[in-house]
C-alpha cells in the first residue's frame, strides 16, 4: 500500500508539474486584473506539487482493513475491466450504430459478464431495458439520443 502510494505520488507530481507549466505558459493579456488568468492555476499547481511530495515522503499508514491476499488484486480487476471495456465500446459505437443497437449490445455484454444465465434471457432483458430507457429518457424527458449514422441518422 505504501509503495503504491509512493508510485501514485510520482504520477501526481508529474501531472502537477505539467499543470504548473501550462499555467506558466499562459499568455498574459495586456488588459488584465492584477492577478490575471495564470495566478490561480499557478497557486493550484504549486499546491499539488507540494502535496505530491508530502504523499511521497509520508504515505499514510494503511488503515486497519484486512489486506487482500496477494494475487487476488488482479483477478478482482477482471470484471470491472471488462465492463469498462464494454462502456467504452458503447461510447465508440453510440453515434455510428445508434442508441438502440449500441445500448442493447452493451446490456447483453454487461449482463453476461455479471453472470446472467441463460443468455437468451439476457437478450430479452437487453431489448426490454433498451426500449424502456428510450421511452423514459427520449420520449418522456426529451433527451437527445442518436439514431446512428449507419441508419441514415446524423
Amino acid at each position: 500500500m505504501i509503495a503504491h502510494d509512493r508510485a501514485a505520488a510520482l504520477v501526481i507530481l508529474a501531472a502537477a508539474a505539467a499543470y504548473f507549466l501550462g499555467a506558466w505558459r499562459l499568455e498574459r493579456p495586456a488588459m488584465a486584473d492584477p492577478l490575471g488568468p495564470s495566478a490561480f492555476p499557478l497557486l493550484l499547481g504549486g499546491s499539488l506539487l507540494l502535496l505530491a511530495v508530502l504523499l511521497f515522503l509520508f504515505p499514510p499508514r494503511p488503515s486497519g482493513e484486512p489486506t487482500q491476499p496477494a494475487g487476488a488484486g488482479t483477478a478482482r480487476l477482471g470484471r470491472p475491466g471488462l465492463v469498462l471495456g464494454l462502456l467504452v465500446a458503447n461510447a465508440l459505437t453510440m453515434e455510428w450504430l445508434g442508441y438502440g443497437l449500441s445500448t442493447s449490445a452493451f446490456f447483453l455484454g454487461a449482463l453476461t459478464v455479471l453472470g446472467e444465465r441463460p443468455w437468451p434471457r439476457g437478450i430479452l432483458y437487453s431489448l426490454a431495458f433498451t426500449a424502456g430507457l428510450y421511452l423514459v429518457f427520449a420520449r418522456a424527458l426529451h433527451l437527445r439520443l442518436p439514431v446512428g449514422t449507419l441508419f441514415g441518422g446524423h
Binding site: A32, D33, P37, R76, L84, V88, A91, L111, Y125, F129
Partner: protein, 502 residues
C-alpha cells in the same frame, strides 16, 4: 416573525402548485427507490438524475432534488432495518438496533419510528432553519470579495478535513477539483486555459459529466468486483407498520434530542448526516438508565439516529441557501444543478430567487408529509425492490449514466470524459481519496477564483487584504482550525491518555 410567515405563505404557494407537487411526489418516490436499491448510494442516484433537470424552472428542479434527497434518507433506513444493509452511511447506526428489532419480529415498529421520528425531526428543523438562514444570509450580504474568498476556503477546508483517513489525500482531491474548474475560457480576460485547442472544452468541464463519472460510474465499477450470484433475499417478515403509544412515548425524548444534535451538526459546514446520526446514538446510549439494552433492539437506538440524520439534512440547507456553501456531496450536487440552471447561489439568493429558496423550504414540509404517508403503507413494495439482482441493476445504472451524459450534451467527448472520470473515481475510491472535496472544488472553483481576483483588484494586488479585513481573517482562522482540528483532538486524547500514567 411576521415577515417569515409572509415568506412562508409565498413559499407554500410555490410548493403547492400542482406541477411542483408532482415533482415533489416524483422526487420522493424515486428517492426512496434509490435509497432502497442495494449497491447504489444516494449521491450516485442523484447524480445520474441531474440531466433530467435540464431546462426545468430552477424552483421546480430544487423541489424535485429535495424530494429525492429526503426520499433516499427514508429508503436508506428501510434497508438498514430490514436487511441490515444500510442504504447509505448516515443510516449505518440504525442497523445496530433496527435490524435486531426486525429479527425479533418488531420490524414494523422500527420502520414506523424511523418514519415518524424523521417526520418530527424534519418539521422542527425546518422551523429552526427558517430562523437561521435569513439572518445568516443578511450577515453575508456585508461580505466583500475578500470575505467571500475566505468563506470558500473555509467551506473547502472543512469538507476536506472530515473527508477521509489521510489529510494529504483529501487535499489532493480538493486541488484536483479546483484544477478542473480552471479548464475553459477565463471569464475576466477571455484567455483559454487547458483547452488543448478542443472547442468543446472552452465552456469548461461539465459538472454533470464529472458528477456522474466520479460518483455513479466509479461506484458501479467498484461494486461489480463483488457481485454475488443470486439475490440477497431477506427472510424478514415486516409485520404491521405501526407502533404502540408506549413505544412512541419511550422514543419521544430520543427523537427530540436527535433533532437538536442533528440540526446543529448539519449547519456546521461539512459535518453531515453521518456524524449526526452517530453522535445522537451515542448520546442516547450514554444518558440511558439501561445502556446495555442498546444494540439488542432498543427502539430509542432507531429513533435517535433516524431523527438526527433527517434534521442534519435540513441543517445542511442553511449554509447552502444562505451562503452558497454546500456541506456535503449531495448539497454540492444541488448547488451544481442550481448553477447549471443559471441561478447564482450566495447571500443574494433569498432576494433574487425567493421562489427557489422559500419554495424549497416549503417543499421540505411537503416532501416530509408525503414520505410519511407514502412510506408506512408502501413498505412491502419497497422491500420487494430489494430482490432486484445486482447483476441487472448495475448495467442499468451505467446505461442511464451514458444516456444522461450524452442526452444533455450530445457530445461524444463528454461521454469519454465521463468514462474517464469513472476510472479516476474508481481509483480514488479504492485508494482512500475522498470524492466529495473534488466535486466541491469543481463547483466552487470558479467563484473562488473570481472573488480572489476581485478582492485583489480592490486592494491593488495586495494579498494582505485577505487578513487585514477582520471578517475575512476570522473565516481564514476558522479554516485553518478546521484543518488542524483532527490533529488537535488526537493530540488532546493522547495527552489525556498519558496523564494518569504520570
Amino acid at each position: 416573525m411576521e415577515e417569515i410567515l409572509g415568506h412562508m405563505a409565498y413559499g407554500f404557494s410555490v410548493a403547492l402548485a400542482p406541477v411542483n407537487l408532482g415533482y415533489a411526489l416524483l422526487g420522493a418516490l424515486v428517492g426512496t427507490l434509490i435509497g432502497v436499491l442495494p449497491g447504489i448510494g444516494p449521491v450516485s442516484g442523484i447524480a445520474i438524475l441531474i440531466p433530467i433537470l435540464y431546462g426545468m424552472p430552477p424552483a421546480s428542479a430544487m423541489i424535485l432534488l429535495t424530494g429525492l434527497y429526503y426520499g433516499t434518507m427514508y429508503g436508506g433506513s428501510t434497508t438498514s432495518i430490514l436487511v441490515n444493509v444500510p442504504g447509505e452511511a448516515s443510516s449505518v447506526v440504525t442497523t445496530l438496533d433496527g435490524y435486531q428489532m426486525a429479527l425479533q419480529g418488531r420490524g414494523g415498529p422500527a420502520l414506523a419510528i424511523a418514519a415518524i421520528g424523521s417526520f418530527i425531526a424534519g418539521t422542527i428543523s425546518i422551523v429552526l432553519m427558517m430562523l437561521f438562514a435569513l439572518p445568516l444570509a443578511r450577515l453575508a450580504l456585508k461580505f466583500g470579495p475578500a470575505e467571500y474568498f475566505s468563506l470558500m476556503v473555509l467551506g473547502l477546508s472543512s469538507v476536506t478535513s472530515l473527508a477521509g483517513a489521510s489529510l494529504t489525500k483529501a487535499l489532493i482531491s480538493t486541488v484536483f477539483g479546483l484544477m478542473l474548474a480552471t479548464v475553459g475560457v477565463d471569464l475576466s480576460t477571455g484567455t483559454a486555459r487547458y483547452t488543448f485547442n478542443v472547442p468543446q472544452l472552452l465552456d469548461g468541464v461539465s459538472f454533470i459529466v464529472a458528477a456522474i463519472g466520479l460518483f455513479a460510474i466509479s461506484e458501479v465499477l467498484l461494486a461489480i468486483e463483488e457481485v454475488h450470484a443470486g439475490t440477497r433475499r431477506s427472510a424478514i417478515t415486516v409485520g404491521r407498520v405501526w407502533l404502540s403509544w408506549r413505544e412512541f412515548k419511550e422514543s419521544l425524548g430520543a427523537i427530540l434530542r436527535g433533532t437538536g444534535i442533528g440540526f446543529y451538526i448539519g449547519v456546521l459546514p461539512a459535518a453531515g448526516a453521518t456524524i449526526a446520526s452517530f453522535m445522537a446514538y451515542n448520546v442516547e446510549k450514554r444518558i440511558a438508565k439501561d445502556p446495555d439494552r442498546f444494540g439488542k433492539g432498543d427502539i430509542r437506538g432507531v429513533a435517535a439516529p433516524e431523527s438526527a440524520n433527517n434534521a442534519a439534512v435540513v441543517g445542511n440547507m442553511v449554509p447552502l441557501l444562505s451562503l452558497g456553501i454546500p456541506g456535503s456531496s449531495t448539497t454540492a450536487l444541488m448547488l451544481g444543478a442550481l448553477m447549471m440552471l443559471g441561478v447564482q447561489p450566495g447571500p443574494l439568493l433569498f432576494q433574487k430567487h425567493p421562489d427557489v429558496t422559500w419554495g424549497l423550504i416549503a417543499s421540505m414540509y411537503v416532501s416530509n408529509t408525503m414520505l410519511l404517508i407514502l412510506n408506512l403503507p408502501l413498505v412491502g413494495l419497497w422491500v420487494r425492490i430489494l430482490d432486484i439482482p445486482e447483476r441487472i441493476l448495475y448495467p442499468l445504472i451505467l446505461a442511464i449514466s451514458v444516456i444522461g451524459i450524452y442526452g444533455v450534451s450530445g457530445s461524444l467527448l463528454d461521454l469519454f470524459l465521463g468514462i474517464g472520470f469513472g476510472l479516476v473515481g474508481y481509483y480514488m475510491r479504492r485508494h482512500d481519496y475522498p470524492l466529495a472535496p473534488a466535486v466541491l472544488g469543481l463547483v466552487l472553483g470558479g467563484i473562488m477564483e473570481q472573488s480572489l481576483r476581485q478582492a485583489l483588484v480592490l486592494s491593488d494586488g495586495s494579498y494582505f487584504t485577505l487578513v487585514a479585513r477582520p471578517l475575512s481573517l476570522v473565516l481564514l482562522i476558522l479554516a485553518a482550525f478546521s484543518l488542524a482540528a483532527p490533529y488537535l483532538i488526537d493530540a488532546l486524547r493522547r495527552l489525556r491518555a498519558a496523564a494518569p500514567a504520570v
